[in-house]
């Protein structure tokens, strides 16, 4: 037997041998799994859970990571997106984390993924039955900026007392002439709980309604898990004379020419040059490969 000390070769190791599968210990997973089941049974209700320290700072998606770690298995294919992109820092670091701790297959293709962990976007490609969308949520309480006390917001949810949220939206109209909330736009889940869709642009709100995929939300710092089951009614709060509407863009994507997607503004130089491109990189690449082209200036 070779007793020589050998440096750990990260390149060779498919997973960190000294950690449990998916990093979390089994008791933590069971606790999170129970919270997920309660969340599914009461759609939109924020279930308290004993959030664990993760090997990344709060704000990097520790809630979503704990949810993914508790549901993922060897047969899963994982996709991780950050603002729609598969190749930004947060997405890459979380994808590598699960590659190392589980060895599961990863993908950038929305259609191939069984679990999609997301920070602040819902993929443009429609989700399908059997997929699970895991949101990283910074502040799960939609009423928090209106009422800072947890004891009060909890009672407001219990009593279905959501008048203050409508007052907030009304004040938007009084000041700006329209509802100026553009992200984290509050939704009503199955006619009961006002819920924060996490800071996704309101452009994505309609995708949550009657979605065939299961949507799970994890807030690590705030220690809350909530869920929206497939085929659940999700309506964005609005008024009869000021109905909910999504953002409209005055130009198509500069790379793929799509005109029905959410666009990111990219600053090109210090002369005021700018470009509007798809925030969903997988969707954009797919369209370009299919022969669609935008009006990109070279």
């Amino acid at each position: 037997m070779n007793t020589e000390a050998r440096a750990f070769d990260w390149a060779e190791a498919p997973a960190i041998a000294t950690y449990n599968f998916a990093y979390l210990d089994e008791q933590s997973k069971r606790m999170i799994r129970r919270a997920i089941l309660k969340g599914i049974a009461v759609p939109g209700y924020q279930v308290p859970f004993a959030s664990r320290e993760m090997p990344m700072p709060y704000g990097w998606g520790t809630g979503g990571v704990q949810v993914t770690a508790s549901i993922i298995g060897p047969d899963d294919t994982l996709k991780v997106i950050d603002q729609g992109a598969d190749d930004t820092t947060n997405a890459i670091s979380i994808r590598k984390f699960f590659q190392r701790t589980t060895g599961v297959r990863t993908t950038t293709a929305t259609t191939e993924a069984s679990i999609i962990q997301t920070r602040h976007r819902i993929p443009e490609t429609p989700l399908t039955a059997g997929q699970v969308l895991v949101y990283q949520v910074p502040i799960p309480e939609p009423l928090r900026f209106l009422e800072p006390r947890e004891t009060e917001t909890r009672t407001m949810h219990a009593l279905e007392e959501y008048g203050v949220m409508h007052v907030k939206l009304y004040e938007d109209i009084a000041r700006h002439g329209h509802i100026a909330t553009t992200y984290a736009y509050p939704v009503m889940v199955q006619g009961r709980y006002v819920t924060d869709p996490s800071p996704t642009p309101k452009f994505d709100n309609p995708k949550m309604d009657q979605c065939p995929a299961l949507q799970l939300f994890g807030a690590g710092r705030e220690m809350r898990i909530y869920a929206i089951p497939p085929w659940t009614e999700v309506t964005s709060l609005d008024f009869e004379d000021h109905p909910f509407a999504v953002q409209a863009f005055d130009r198509p994507c500069a790379l793929c020419g799509a005109d029905d997607v959410f666009l990111d503004e990219v600053i090109m130089d210090d002369q005021g040059g700018r470009m509007f491109v798809c925030s969903d990189t997988d969707h954009c690449n797919g369209r370009q490969q299919a022969g669609h082209a935008g009006e990109q200036e070279t």
């Binding site: 449990n20 599968f21 089994e26 008791q27 997973k29 069971r30 606790m31 799994r33 129970r34 919270a35 997920i36 089941l37 309660k38 969340g39 599914i40 049974a41 009461v42 759609p43 209700y45 279930v47 308290p48 508790s70 549901i71 993922i72 298995g73 060897p74 059997g130 909890r154 009672t155 949810h157 219990a158 009593l159 199955q190 009961r192 709980y193 009657q210 299961l214 869920a227 929206i228 089951p229 497939p230 085929w231 659940t232 009614e233």
Partner: protein
């Protein structure tokens, strides 16, 4: 006197691989809870002592631990091997009070208490309610129930047997307490189905 080398039977029959075994069973339960009334096949290698069914044992071993109290119905509570098996494989404390149970394991559906006798949660914390695991014999025959609610596209038909007494009225009362109320996991041989409190049930005509 020589100590017996044969291990006590309650030590045996757990997950061969608790990590991946528990994960696979949980995903079945999660899918069943997310799409109420669908029958999810479940595979595992658990061999609990009679009369606890293998599917019920797999659910308990997956979800229960020292943080969750378990209520056992009379047939299960009377069996010392079942109680010891649950104690060894989950570490969960057994409670005699249904209204304080995190999980309730029901082996004999005909003799089960009313759904209202279990923990219902509060309006502020509806998650503090009991999850009932019912050992059913069939998920393909019995009274036809027409389901609607979250997780169900339009409607879905579920059959299971045996059905608790006065189930339609009991389930309607459970739904009327929403967001309070209990959730059901129906544990059949080789499969599970779920009825979360959000699901509305109607008895199909004819």
């Amino acid at each position: 006197m020589q100590p017996s080398l044969r291990p006590e039977s309650f030590l045996e029959g757990g997950f061969a691989d608790p990590v991946l075994g528990g994960q696979a069973v949980f995903r079945c339960i999660m899918q069943a809870m997310a799409e109420p009334g669908t029958v999810q096949p479940i595979s595992h290698d658990l061999q609990p002592p009679e009369p606890m069914t293998a599917t019920m044992a797999a659910i308990a071993a997956t979800l229960c631990d020292a943080d969750t109290s378990i209520w056992l119905d009379a047939t299960l509570a009377a069996n010392a091997q079942v109680v010891k098996w649950l104690g060894f494989h989950t570490g969960a404390p057994v409670t005699p009070r249904a209204d304080q149970a995190t999980f309730a394991l029901v082996g004999d559906i005909g003799a089960m208490p009313a759904l209202a006798d279990f923990a219902q949660g509060t309006d502020s914390y509806p998650d503090r309610s009991s999850t009932l695991v019912l050992a059913v014999e069939h998920l393909d025959r019995g009274m036809a129930l027409d389901l609607s609610g979250p997780g169900i596209r339009d409607s879905r038909t579920l059959r299971f047997a045996p059905v608790p007494s006065d189930f339609i009225a009991q389930w309607a009362a459970n739904g009327a307490r929403f967001p309070r109320g209990v959730d059901l996991i129906l544990a059949a041989p080789g499969a599970v189905a779920c009825l979360p409190r959000s699901t509305r049930v109607r008895q199909e005509e004819g």
